[in-house]
Amino acid sequence: MDTPLAVQCEGICKRYPHFRLQDVDLAFEQGTVMGLVGPNGAGKSTILRIVMGLVGPDSGRVEVLGHSMPADQIAAKYQIGFVAEDMRLYESETIAFHMEFMRSIFDSWDDDYAATLLRRLDLLEGQKVKGLSHGQRVKAILLLALAHRPNLLVFDEPTTGLDPAVRKEVLDEMVNALEDETRSILFSSHNTLDVEQISDYITFIYGGRIVESRDKETFLDGWRRLRLTNPNNARLPELPNIRDVRQSGSLCAVTVNDYDDAIPGEFVEAGLSLDEIEPLTLEEIFLANVQHAKRVAGEGAVS
């Protein structure tokens, strides 16, 4: 049986006055979690909105759960739950009002699950939206998105601006939803801890382009920081996978991507001595990618 991919984007391009999304390819199978990482303005929200059919790409193909977007977006949206950080509900109405509204639209609305979520997320359905704190509002939107049991969850910065306790609640419910193995999640965050924790795949975006996209373990495995001593101020080997270099006196820290065991040897041959090889957290990789992209852009501008 050929199950369609959860999301399949090919060659997505979108032009705005001050920003351009170029040649974005994004794909992951159902039952997995894809995390989009990148600085603000890199294009994460745009990609998510294109996946949701809210924005039409200038060129490229988008398929969500086998449905072509935006042409077949209605059928797709019955199976999608969307949460965005800038999404708002109707302030004058209660959570119950919104639940009733969703129930009237989705056959798949599960009252028991909704009640469970209310309890777990510590919300009262009689509360008016305007009286909710930011964290409670995000949780309410999350509840509305989850309770109709969609096959795909699309979350744009779900944990931004949340205190650690609420953040944990949100992440927990996201992971709990995955207990159903047909469910997939596509989410964006610049909170690298979240992405690192729950993603199966990570895509790094910068300046409207995909920088790197692979499964999380390979992604993290491919990066190392080498701590070296450079007593004779020798020239560092010119390796294509160097992403960042910090020198301080005769101490040197080099961040490399696509690491393999032969790389330390190249530095030793160049006259440096190896002190330590460290793995990197996703946040450190994020920063290294940004630094590298800035440097490349700077060199491009100068030459």
Binding site: T32, I198, D200, G265
Partner: protein, 122 residues
């Protein structure tokens, strides 16, 4: 079923290694005797709130090391023939093999490596 896995944020090791450690600990202290069935990958992922792919990797590595045995369609269980001592020896052997590989790529002679090792056993 609550597994009670506890992870420390300060632990800088990759998550899959931390999971492996928690499992091995339970085996070592006897909470999970040989042939105990392990939680399914999905169960463990949901409980610990980590990605499936990380748990998969942990299980794969544990199987490679002979700590657990996986049968297609039947899940994983603690190796019935597990011997903790030989397990730890196996782990040590792996560490030494990696150290030797690294030393080789650094152009270090075997003697130098042995001296270094001696220093660390002091």
């Amino acid at each position: 079923m609550s597994l009670g896995f506890v992870f420390s944020q300060r632990d800088k090791r990759p998550m899959y290694q931390q999971i492996m450690e928690q499992i091995v600990q339970r085996i070592a202290v006897g909470d999970w005797p040989p042939d105990t069935p392990l939680p399914s990958i999905r169960q463990l992922a949901t409980e610990t709130k980590v990605s499936i792919i990380t748990v998969k990797r942990a299980y794969l590595e544990l199987e490679r090391e002979g700590v657990i045995v996986t049968h297609q369609g039947k899940g994983s269980r603690v190796n019935g023939r597990i011997d903790l001592q030989s397990l730890q020896r196996e782990e040590l052997a792996q560490h030494l093999a990696r150290a030797a590989r690294l030393a080789r790529s650094l152009g270090m002679a075997a003697d130098e490596l042995l001296d270094l090792l001696k220093k660390h056993t002091q």
